[in-house]
């Protein structure tokens, strides 16, 4: 088990190095970093000097090693536009995105999985059909449209909820949380729903399809033939088997919620990383883009690692080197 985790972790490091290479290439070769930093009236000699002091004349591997070394310590240099350390900017924005993503992921799971199970067990009932039709609507509506409709309805017409921003936040160390104030929670509702709807419908459909598959297997039939209680058959046996393949997809979805909250953040002017990233793209602020790339890759890698470990915990067939 420990060997397995070590192996996976080593693979994760390799993935991160490859991403770092891409991020570094972006940094170093998209445009000239010196041009991005200095004004137009800087002389050629000053530029050369800066190049030398920044180490841009060093061999490729030395530069890459330095980049990775700094990145490991969370140092991605200065933002070109905002003239602040990138790590600070990200640290300011990350809690907003993280809270939004986690709340909506939780929403998607807590509603999505039971609904998937329900629609699989009561395949023919009217409410299942209704759920499935609604989920089709949820899966086909673009995120920004849902967001705008929510704003229109609850923000503009009913005036129940704030339409933009995070509301009041409470600072706990470097982490700013909106979960502890009324306005913070109110502001969270609409963006979280917007972000959750697509994931939720996906999970409903995924769980339903997988569960229907499992309910047709011999071991479920055999469990019924042994007179086990429907609750045991459906939940202890069928649901557990359903969740094995579903776990991977859910893991990746949680990753993509964090990574691609961009649209939702734009719609609701949510001061998260997505918004920061969009602005960085507009202004060709490469250090921010590189850091964002690395961070998202790291999140995906960590989630994958967790999913892999969960797999081994749940499925005994994968405990290859157990015992």
């Amino acid at each position: 088990m420990i060997l397995f985790i070590a192996k996976r972790a080593a693979q994760a490091v390799l993935v991160m190095l490859v991403v770092a290479l891409i991020a570094f290439a972006l940094f170093r070769y998209v445009g000239d970093p010196i041009n991005n930093m200095v004004g137009q009236d800087t002389t050629f000699e000053q530029r050369q000097e800066l190049r030398q002091t920044l180490g841009l004349n060093d061999p490729f591997f030395v530069q890459f090693a330095r980049f990775v070394g700094h990145a490991v310590q969370g140092d991605f240099g200065q933002s070109y536009q905002l003239r602040q350390p990138v790590s600070e900017l990200i640290a300011q924005r990350f809690p907003a995105t993280f809270e939004l993503s986690m709340v909506s992921a939780l929403m998607a799971l807590v509603i999505g999985i039971p609904m998937g199970v329900y629609t699989a067990l009561n395949r023919k009932s009217i409410s299942s059909r209704l759920f499935m039709t609604l989920s089709l609507v949820g899966i086909s509506l673009p995120t920004f449209l849902i967001g705008i409709l929510l704003i229109l309805f609850f923000g503009v017409i009913l005036r129940w909820l704030p339409t933009f921003g995070r509301g009041e936040v409470v600072q706990i160390g470097w982490w700013s949380t909106g979960l502890l104030t009324k306005s913070g929670l109110e502001s969270l509702i609409m963006p979280a729903i917007t972000l959750a709807i697509f994931q939720m419908t996906l999970i409903v459909r995924l769980v339903r399809a997988e569960m229907l598959e499992v309910l047709r297997t011999d071991y479920v039939k055999f469990a019924r033939a042994r007179g086990l209680k429907p609750r045991t058959v459906n939940f202890t046996i069928a649901l557990k088997n359903t969740l094995v393949p579903v776990m991977t997809i859910i893991g990746l979805q949680v990753g993509s919620i964090i990574a691609f909250a961009i649209i939702t953040e734009s719609v609701f002017q949510w001061p998260g990383m997505g918004l920061l990233f969009i602005q960085a793209i507009h202004q060709v602020d490469i250090p921010i883009m590189a850091a964002y790339l690395m961070l998202i890759a790291l999140i995906f890698v960590i989630i994958n690692l967790i999913v892999d470990i969960l797999y081994v915990v749940v499925d005994p067939r994968l405990r290859v080197s157990g015992k």
């Binding site: 011999d218 071991y219 033939a225 086990l228 209680k229 005994p316 067939r317 290859v320």
Partner: protein, 566 residues
């Protein structure tokens, strides 16, 4: 002997939009304690439907439309679901066919046994566990205290079937319905499991219905037999009487379709009554595409020569940890002469199928040589050259369901090899050839526009055969081509293969675990065990005068239809 289960005039229908389909009608069966009743018939005969109906496990849209089911004097058809659930497992239980899929892969044997016991019996978890250990001992699982906490995947197929039996019996039911309990197992394991079932029925005074398509199993274990055909019991009586002197025409043809272990026949006697044998419109092979370009030139020596073939797989071990290698094929040599049918027989894991995959190039051997028509296949590096050889050998796989692409029409499936190897000039010619091939294997040219799911297993195997013929091969590798099929369909497919061989002068490598089938099909046989050949001999010699001890052991296990021989 008291009657435990009595089924009287049972009728089961499946409701559909196009009206009701009757799956079983007027079925009357009964079993007494200590008795084993065999229900035999081919797929679609309604055997399993009867079992499911008695258990209250019919899935929608199926329902009992008439008749009664009485369990130990109490009527149980039409009981509400919860009352029926309480009976299942406790009074009447079921053993499933495939031990690899009937156990929950995520829970230990102990958990599965204990849940079942505590559901039905007033036991604490600890008592249940103690009983579970005793029961595992009873069904012949060695070292039950240690193994009870293992997961299903840590057991072999035969051991898993013992676990399934333990699970079915753990709440002490008096009636057991065993639905094809040994079909997925090797002969030697089959014999053990049948022994175990017989012993359990006798000692516990339970009654068992054994549902099977296999006459050999019936002959081995059943006291009485009911023969089912199209949802009806056409004949019932003591096993000896039914197998030895059947009255009904269907029973007669069914028995004649069972490959005889004791004597080789030229063809299987025709099996009417069953899925239409498909009238073959034979082609004039002298002029037809299929018969042309069959002149491969004279051959010195055998068509296929396998020398010291080795195949090593590296696998991660389930238990010890670390990797180890398995010699799936370990120094195998044999020759197949042109026009010969060469049999490979052995139990699962003996390396038979691996050899088929090595010969066709699906696997690369780790050692040894495969010489086809005088060319060493390992020496061929150019793809075009390799394709030229591959065209000459084709394979027919075991599972007719997964070996044809479900998303393609039959015509396209058969046309694919012709197009790939560019064997025909125009699309129109290809279509004509495909139509002729489908006609030739007895499916009829019209089926080209249909999809595989519209066909039965036997028909799909005919599609596979047509596809194999589409490259105009000279060498056919049949890997258990009929082991997924009913006996009568098997007889038809084997007849077809024999006919094609005679017409086209095909050479065949015929792989099977089924000794009687081997006897009917092959000129020479090699017996395999653990990657090695134990004995090679002409078929009749092998069956009449086996030299090798393992061969003798296998022949002894071969189920005999005692009745039929009488």
């Amino acid at each position: 002997m008291s009657v435990l289960l009595d089924i009287d005039g049972l009728k089961v229908v499946f409701e559909s939009r196009h009206g009701d389909v009757t799956a079983a009608r007027n079925v009357c069966l009964s079993i007494a304690s200590g008795e084993i009743l065999g229900v035999v018939g081919e797929s679609g005969a309604g055997k399993s439907t009867i079992g499911n109906a008695a258990m209250g496990l019919l899935e929608r849209p199926g329902k009992v439309a008439g008749g009664t089911v009485t369990l130990e004097g109490e009527r149980i058809d039409g009981l509400p679901p919860e009352a029926m659930r309480r009976l299942r497992g406790a009074k009447i239980s079921m053993i499933f066919q495939d031990p690899l899929t009937s156990l929950d892969p995520l829970r230990t044997i102990a958990e599965q046994l204990v849940t079942t016991m505590t559901t039905h019996l007033p036991l604490s978890e600890r008592e249940a566990r103690k009983r579970a250990v005793a029961l595992m001992h009873e069904v012949g699982i060695p070292d039950p205290e240690a193994r009870i906490d293992d997961y299903p995947h840590q057991f072999s197929g035969g051991m898993r079937q013992r676990v399934v039996i333990a699970l079915a019996l753990c709440a002490e039911p008096n009636v057991i319905i065993a639905d094809e309990p040994t079909t997925a197992l090797d002969v030697s394991i089959q014999a053990q499991i049948l022994d175990l079932l017989r012993k359990l029925v006798r000692t516990k005074g339970a009654g068992m219905i054994i549902i099977t398509h296999d006459m050999g199993v019936i002959a081995e274990i059943a006291d009485r037999v009911a023969v089912m055909y199209r949802g009806e019991v056409v004949e019932a009586g003591p096993t000896r009487k039914i197998l030895g002197d059947p009255d009904h025409d269907y029973t007669k043809s069914l028995i004649s379709a069972v490959p005889r272990p004791d004597v080789k026949l030229d063809r299987f006697p025709l099996v009417e009554h069953i899925e239409s044998a498909g009238s073959r419109r034979s082609l004039d092979l002298k002029t037809h595409w299929l018969g042309q370009k069959r002149d491969y030139g004279a051959l010195d020596g055998p068509l296929l020569s396998v020398r010291d073939l080795e195949m090593t797989f590296r696998v991660g071990s389930m238990f010890g940890g670390g990797r180890r290698s398995v010699n799936a094929v370990d120094g195998v040599s044999f020759d197949i002469a042109a026009g010969e049918t060469f049999g490979l027989v052995g139990e699962s894991g003996s390396g038979k199928s691996t050899i088929a995959r090595l010969v066709t190039g699906i696997y690369q051997p780790t050692g040894g040589a495969i010489v086809f028509a005088g060319t060493d296949l390992a020496g061929i590096t150019r793809r075009r050259e390799l394709n030229r050889h591959r065209r000459q050998m084709q394979m027919i796989f075991q599972d007719p369901y997964s070996s044809v692409n479900p998303r393609k029409k039959v015509g396209a499936i058969v046309a694919e090899p012709i197009l790939f190897h560019k064997l025909a000039g125009s699309r129109a010619e290809v279509n004509r050839i495909v139509a002729d091939l489908l006609d030739h294997v007895g499916l009829g040219a019209k089926v080209a526009g249909k999809y595989p799911h519209e066909f039965s297993g036997g028909q799909r195997q005919r599609i596979s055969i047509a596809r194999a013929l589409a490259t105009r091969p000279r060498f056919l590798i049949c890997d258990e081509p009929t082991s997924a099929l009913d006996v009568s369909i098997q007889a038809q497919v084997l007849n077809l293969l024999k006919d094609l061989q005679a017409e086209l002068g095909l050479t065949m490598l015929f792989i099977s675990h089924d000794l009687p089938v081997i006897r009917q099909m092959c000129d020479r046989v090699a017996v395999m065990r653990r990657g090695r050949i134990e004995e090679i001999a002409p078929t009749e010699d092998l069956f009449e005068r086996p030299q090798n001890e393992y061969t003798r052991h296998l022949l002894k296990l071969m189920p005999k239809m005692t009745g039929a021989a009488a």
